[in-house]
Amino acid sequence: MSFLETRDLCLDIGGFELNNINLRADEGDYVALIGPSGSGKSLLLETLIGFYVPEKGRILLEEGDITAFSPDKRQISIVYQDHMLFPHMNVFENIEYALKKKLRNEKQLEAEIRQIADILGIGGLLYRKPTTLSGGEKQRVALARSLVVRPKLLLLDEPFSALDARAREKLRDLLKKAISEYRTTVLHVTHDFEDIWMLANRVIIIRKGELIQEGDPESVFRRPSHSFVAEFLGTNVIKGKIKARNGKLTVLEAEGLEVYSADSAKPGEKVTVSIRPEEIILARTAIESSARNILKGRVSGILKKEHLIVVEVVIGNTEIKAVITPTSCEILDLEPGKEIYAIFKASNARIIGRTGNTD
């Protein structure tokens, strides 16, 4: 049995719902929960912590059924995007309030508060009121308050989304340090894929209250099980028909382009192929390499996304996205309308869906 388990969890609160959620997490796991807005991610967290009572299903934590427990009996903490620091208490009192139910001894209390304050770098803020803190500082205090009680499970509901990129990066590092120190199991709702790559060892994708896919980040990103997942994750999704087998490779014909995939499929079969944007190389000429797919197209758009550049290339009637660095963009002298080659390996064109044989 897993450390955390939900069995057929169902709840409908009008507008948001959970449909037969079967979720598992082992002790020490850092699980990232992603999905479009309104998919029920936050509702799932608030059901796990006991703010909502499920209509059906069970929640098991450390082999015990906690479905009927009130929130104060579950030993689960939560950090929200808007931190929810008690405004009438200073930072020290906020953390102390959380710990007081566990520890009565004043000296131990203070030692624990100082320890978490040191880890999260808020030692100098202890006697400040929440209203005087910056967004990043507030979130560090909220994390400290939730971690200091050493919860069995820590729930994070988009804790970094209101912060700028630099504060986010810093907080991620601090969180990583604190989590390893307190050995907490974490369930983290996020929209930021960097959170997944930096922190999570497992990813769960949820849509309309249903769990769509779960696995380690590598496998979910490289092998989305569903075209929705691929699109949501920003992967290029190409739908087409298998034209032929060429040795060990499969040749797919999509709208105006031919793609080689290392995955096997029968000729005539309709398939969906996923290609990660960062696995596509852009070149000015058709360079010879081990990559089997060399597709000629035209740049249709150049978008800046945080530290990287997303280049949209139209090949035949299909548009694909490639991610490159700003330096590469400068070297290639890219601009809309310019001819460019998109190069990728057959092993990077993954068949993620089959809709049957048309022949």
């Binding site: 703010f51 929130p71 939560i78 808007d82 929810m84 008690f86 009680v149």
Partner: protein, 250 residues
């Protein structure tokens, strides 16, 4: 802007007329008369008791309306809001009938409680007039507090009541003070319902608005104006405190 200035001047002139209608010596002699002293004491006592009762009842009522879902919630909210739209005299008449001889009166009499034409009637009338206002202000205050604060507190091992006491109440402090001030002002200025339920007996159920009314009836303008000035002073202090609380300056 012009309209605001016009009405401010109009209210100021009306208040000024009241303030300067009496010579200081006339005002002072009325102020220290036995009747006014009795009336002020009774008004302060009944309004304080009513405010306390209103606050004790309106806080849980407003909290339940704000935080919980239960059948008939909308109906309850509508009924609780009704007295605000009711003329005070109608409210007084309804209370007189309820506590009179046809309904609750005989039962209460067996228990030794007399509501009609008594000081207890003043408190009940004031309570009924002020309660809906208090519920409305406190309800808005609770609605302004994100329930997630309470949920976070619960997750740290605190029960519902403990969370209410340690998190919700301190966060609602300004709204509760504002509500108490408005309640007190409503209670002390309440006239129609008090007159009908408790009667306007000289030096018995005589609160400040009743003093004003009785003395106007006798043609004793000095006493009536003095009562008016006192009521206006109390209302001014209440509104001033309320505005400062609303602006978070207190």
């Amino acid at each position: 802007m012009g309209i605001a200035c016009f009405f401010t001047m109009l209210f100021f002139s009306a208040a000024g007329t009241l303030l300067f209608a009496l010579k200081p010596s006339e005002f002072l002699s009325s102020l220290f008369s036995e009747e006014i002293i009795y009336s002020v004491k009774l008004s302060m006592l009944t309004a304080s008791i009513s405010t306390l009762l209103v606050m004790c009842c309106s806080v849980p009522t407003a909290y339940a309306l704000s935080r919980f879902t239960f059948p008939g919630k909308t109906l309850i909210r509508t009924i609780l809001g009704l007295p605000m739209a009711f003329p005070e005299l109608v409210m007084g008449l309804a209370l007189l009938l309820l506590f009179g001889q046809n309904f609750l009166g005989p039962i209460l009499e067996i228990l030794g409680i007399k509501v009609t034409f008594s000081r207890l009637g003043i408190i009940i009338a004031q309570f009924c007039i002020a309660f809906p206002y208090a519920v409305k202000i406190i309800y808005s205050t609770f609605e302004g507090i994100n329930p997630r604060y309470e949920q976070v507190s619960r997750s740290f091992g605190y029960g519902e009541f403990e969370t209410f006491r340690k998190i919700t109440l301190p966060m609602a402090r300004s709204g509760l003070f504002a509500s108490a001030i408005i309640t007190f002002a409503r209670c002390i200025g309440s006239f129609g319902a008090v007159l009908i339920l408790a009667g306007g007996s000289y030096m018995y159920t005589e609160v400040l608005p009743v003093t004003l009314y009785l003395n106007i009836s006798y043609g004793n303008l000095e006493m009536a104006i003095t009562s008016g000035i006192l009521l206006m002073g109390i209302a001014f202090l209440a509104i001033l405190s309320f505005e400062r609380l609303e602006g978070g300056k207190l």
